[in-house]
């Protein structure tokens, strides 16, 4: 399949991730949506690395994975901590930064 298809798939996954992040209230699912977005970008990087015959894309994807892993770990820990203190899983209720 060509570049068009890859781009479409990637865009679709990215938009699904975005939509998930915005409409869901469960922080875990929001996190998963972020993973979706990251993965869509990873996918694009990998395919284009293949199209362009350059490994830079893959290296980049690898880095993203590393960052994503770190992010997930920290993020989940934060969610855990918040839950421990507030006993509430609705992100809309967590608005301490309100101006």
């Amino acid at each position: 399949m060509g570049e068009q298809f890859v781009l479409l798939i990637s865009a679709a996954i990215f938009c699904v991730g975005t939509a998930g992040f915005v409409i869901r209230k469960n922080p875990l699912i929001m996190f998963m949506s972020v993973e979706l977005m990251l993965n869509s970008v990873n996918f694009l990087l990998v395919t284009y690395s293949s199209f362009l015959n350059s490994l830079d894309g893959q290296i980049f994807a690898l880095m993203i994975m590393a960052v994503a892993a770190a992010e997930v770990v920290v993020g989940l820990a934060i969610i855990l901590t918040i839950f421990r203190t507030r006993h509430d899983m609705d992100v809309d209720h967590i608005d301490v930064l309100k101006g």
Partner: protein
């Protein structure tokens, strides 16, 4: 590889198409399920699809990493947390916010698709031998020569993340109170 993109190969295209569509559907599953546990399972499916796609696009090493890191480590972590916090179903209401969000996401999708049709990108001649492309060796060579600093930084990042998590999880916090003006 260049030939792969140009030579017509029906079987491979069909597989890519099928796996790609499955990945999209799985991702839809992630966000539409009301229970986090199902979402997590759909996400695992999505990850595997992507790993397959990686394989199909000559990225064996990344495919493996995808399975191990994402579908393995990360998702297991998710499942643990879900198990810990309880997979409560959330109540979805059709709010103004929701409709706006969906509208904008669709516009975004449209725009992305439009930008995908902008035209052929300029091709760059790679310098890696074809037979080595995407293998762990190639990645390794690349990673430990050209991107050494980034690699080390990534390792530092992971270390920091590990320390941070320990800090976050170990100490208990007083309940947060609303800021008083």
């Amino acid at each position: 590889m260049l030939e792969i993109a140009t030579v017509f190969d029906f079987t491979r295209d069909a597989v890519i198409f099928a796996v790609g569509v499955t990945a999209v559907l799985a991702s839809l599953g992630v966000i539409l399920c009301s229970s986090p546990i199902y979402s997590a399972l759909y996400l695992i499916g999505h990850m595997i699809c992507l790993a397959l796609l990686f394989l199909l696009y000559n990225a064996e090493f990344l495919a493996v990493v995808q399975i191990i890191v994402y579908a393995g480590a990360v998702m297991i972590l998710f499942l643990f947390i879900i198990a810990l916090l309880g997979g409560k179903k959330e109540v979805q209401e059709n709010s103004f916010h929701r409709s706006i969000a969906i509208t904008f996401v669709f516009i975004l999708l449209g725009e992305l698709c439009l930008s995908a049709t902008v035209g052929p990108t300029k091709q760059v001649q790679g310098e890696i031998p074809a037979d080595l492309f995407g293998t762990a060796k190639a990645i390794g060579l690349e990673l430990f020569s050209k991107h050494l600093v980034a690699f080390e930084l990534a390792s530092g990042l992971l270390l920091v993340a590990a320390v941070g998590v320990i800090c976050l999880a170990k100490f208990s916090f007083a309940p947060l109170r609303r800021r008083v003006r």
